[in-house]
């Protein structure tokens, strides 16, 4: 258990948006796998929790979904980032960078400050 981290609340949607922006339209399973791989298998993603997060993003208009066929001809629901989602992602990235930068100043050794 100890070597894998649970996904923090709120960061999952950022990861979803980022992943969708990078790889284009993707179904739920593909997204889950991709997020795990990107984290270097450090993240333990409970696949079940991914879907409510996707629903929330869709309700907020950041992504849209439609049924399609997967690479091996399976029916699956594909998610795609919207314009609003891209804007949201940009804003969130900036916020996130700022937050980590601030935290970094606190956490770096004292003599460098």
């Amino acid at each position: 258990m100890g070597d894998k981290t649970d996904v923090w609340q709120g960061t999952l949607s950022l990861m979803v948006l980022r992943t969708l922006e990078t790889i284009g339209p993707q179904h739920g399973y593909g997204l889950a796998r991709r997020i795990e791989q990107t984290s270097g298998d450090l993240l333990q993603l409970n696949y079940g929790t991914l879907y409510p997060a996707l629903l929330k993003l869709e309700q907020e208009g950041y992504i849209r979904s439609s049924w399609g066929t997967s690479e091996n001809n399976r029916k699956a629901k594909f998610y795609e980032i919207t314009k609003a989602g891209q804007r949201r992602l940009k804003a969130a990235e900036a916020e996130w960078n700022q937050t980590t930068a601030i935290l970094a100043r606190f956490l770096t050794p004292a003599e460098e400050a």
Binding site: H27, G28, Y29, G30, R33, N46, Y47, G48, T49, Y51, P52, L55, K56, E58, Q59, E60, G61, Y62, S70, N72, R74, K75, A76, K77
Partner: protein, 906 residues
Amino acid sequence: MRQFRALLQRFWGLLGSRRADADFAAELESHVVLDTEAGVRNGLTPEEARRQALIRLGGAEQARQVYRERRTLPWVEDLLHDLRFGVRMMTRNAGFTWVAVLTMAVGIGATTTAFTWINGVLLKPLGGVADPSRLVTVETVTSNGEWVPNSYPDFIDFRDQLKSFDGIAVSHVTALSVGKEDHAERVWGELVSGNFFSVLGVQPEAGRLFLPAEYADAPGKFPIAVISDRYWRSHYGADPSIVGKTIRVNQHELTIVGVASPAFHGSIPVTAFDLWIPYMEQPVLNGVQEWMLRDRHDRNMLGIARVKQGVTFEQARLELKTLADRMAVANSNVSLGMSATLMPLWKSPHGPQGLLVGPLRILMGVCVLVLLIVCANVANLLLARATVREKEFSARLALGATRRRLARQVLTESLLLTGTGAALGLAVTPWMGHVLGLLMPPGPMQQLVAMDTRPDLSVLAFTAGVCVLAALAAGLVPALQVSRINISARLNAGGRSGAGSRGRNRLRAVLVAGEVALALVALVGAGLFARGFAQTMQIDPGFNPDHVLLNQFYLNTNGYSLQQRKEFCRRLEQRMLGAPGVTDVAYSDGVPLGFEPSWWEELRIDGYAPKPNENMNIFRNVVSPGYLPLMHIPMVEGRDFTDADNESQDVGAMIVNEAFVRRFSAGRNPIGTRIHGWGNWFRVVGVVKDSKYHYLGETAPPYFYVPFRQIYREDMNLAFYVRTKGEPDSVLSTLRAQVRELDPNVTVFDAAPLKEFIGASLYPQKVAASLMTVLGSIALLLAAVGLYSVMAYSVAQRTQEIGVRMALGARPGHVLGMVIRQGLTIAVAGLIAGGALAILMARAVASVSFTNSAMGSSAKLVGSGANGPVIYFAAAGFLCGIAALASYLPARRAASIEPMQALRAE
């Protein structure tokens, strides 16, 4: 913004829930399939791959649950679910639902109706005016403190000198005859000062209202009129080209300049007028002499003023009073001791609202009482239902429902019941508005009463509030009970019922006792009002109104001169006297105990030195020679008027009443006393017995009569009386025919038996008594139903116990007695509490009085109290009887229980 979008989406989600569930199931399935395929590619067996995929998914059911909660709004969904369930429960128990919904409809319908009336009369007395909260009534105050209308010269002084007001306007209510002579129509209108519409802030629907130029005080210069929206629609089909057309009023052509806004009905609450004409047309239209417009004695203008923004009511009142006091000194020959005051519109003693305010307050109180009883009843029904459903609730608790969720379910169901009841009640309310008109005394008032009873926003808000409160009141106790259910006890008890619900039975007994208490209050109230009414009815008016037909003529509307009017009366009197079945004929200005204000004259009496500031304005009537005999008012001394008492005499004749003699000619023979009034000398020729003049409860004021031919003036009314041998209505057709022969243009509009007409003075008491009786009966019925249901239920629960008792040798009579005793115990407890409440209520109601338009005097609604205790005991005894009956029926069933059957039923 995004959150709002999400919220909207979730609301949408409420609609297509089944399809969305299937959609998500398909998505999860495709997820598992994709994961399984990946596993198979990595060399796992299909079964193992699928197993691992499901593990990684982490519980499809949980995912589905979280997903569903996110997709919709869980609390709304719960609510919808509760509602759906509630409706299903309601339709399944149709009998229970009907009883609960109908009782609620009665309670809420009554309360809403009462509020609609109060809303119309007290809260927004005038429709279609700007900022009604700053409008006030201006009343002149006599030196005795009575409120009377204003004179036109007083109005001009007020208008020109007061600073605390945006404006002050006056109006004079009058009957008008509209149209060609031979098919004229009676229309009620107001003769108004030119600034009337601008003071009230009324908007025109078409054309314009009166302009500032028309504010001038130039008699006969403004032959124009404004019509009501109602009249425009009914008589002109809402013709937009109405402006500029002429309308024939009292044989004079007036130009219609505009139509008032639809919401505007005139300046008197609860009353609808159709025509507004500048007061300066009064001399032309009604033949009133121009000097009367300048006479401060001629007080026939109702004043209405708009207080300036930022000026308090009290400041405005003080300024008015100061000015009026100064005017009283300046015009001391006519206005000595007079003053003026302001009051809220609904307090004005003129018009129907003066009569309505007291009864309406009582009505509201009674409605709240009925609503409380209704709530107790529905709470009782819900409790009984909750007992029946205890198993269902226990099962739901056992399956994991929270107690809060169950309590919410019960409250939702109770809200559903009250909501349905409220909807039914609201549907009835507009219809109830007409009842108010039926309750008004006959005569012009009945035609004029108009109230906007369409439920408006405040009424709807009120009903919704009452509905929620009632739902809480009725549902709270059952909901608390449900949340206290002991699961294991319930489930273990199996089919056995009765043991665990003792506490609930006690609760229901308390509720029923409360109902009995409230019913007692309602009954005692009904008794008190009915007694007050009966007491008043027994008062001898001092004249005999039976077998008299009364008709009011408005000859001014036919363009009659004063001389023509007198001539008309004389000839009609002759013709009617010759008609079969007629014994007496007479005519006068005022009608005793009528609805219109009585008038007075300032007198100077030879040999009587008035004290400083003594009010020498004495009430009077102007009557024809036959009046006193027709009314059966006995002469005590001297003679009646004769035809010789006419215009040719230099000194007029006068007849006074005994109270007049007691006050002004103590110890002297009153006959022959010289009295000065109307700028003329009179000599007392007779004394009559006191009778009632303004309302039945009054103590006789000094009063005098003067001959019609000597004193009758253009601005006076004309009441025509015919005494008959049989029913007064029997001569109505004769009267019509005779009037038509005299002048086909004069129509008999509103002839009514005098007995009915004078009922006006009894109106508030009549209304209070009849409303209380109706609502008291409802309360009684509800309490009886409540008691019966509790007793029947408790007997049903104790079937087994009673069976055992009977098997052990208890006689049926014994069982009967036991059950009835139980019912009576509840009732007596309720009666004791109710008795205390009723005494408190009687005190509160005793202080409510009503205003009679005659001189603004106040009269009490409830007679003062000798046989009070009788009413209390009679009501309590009656309720005990009802309680015994309500418990007898279940008791008889209990006594007829077959022991073997009762035991086998277990």
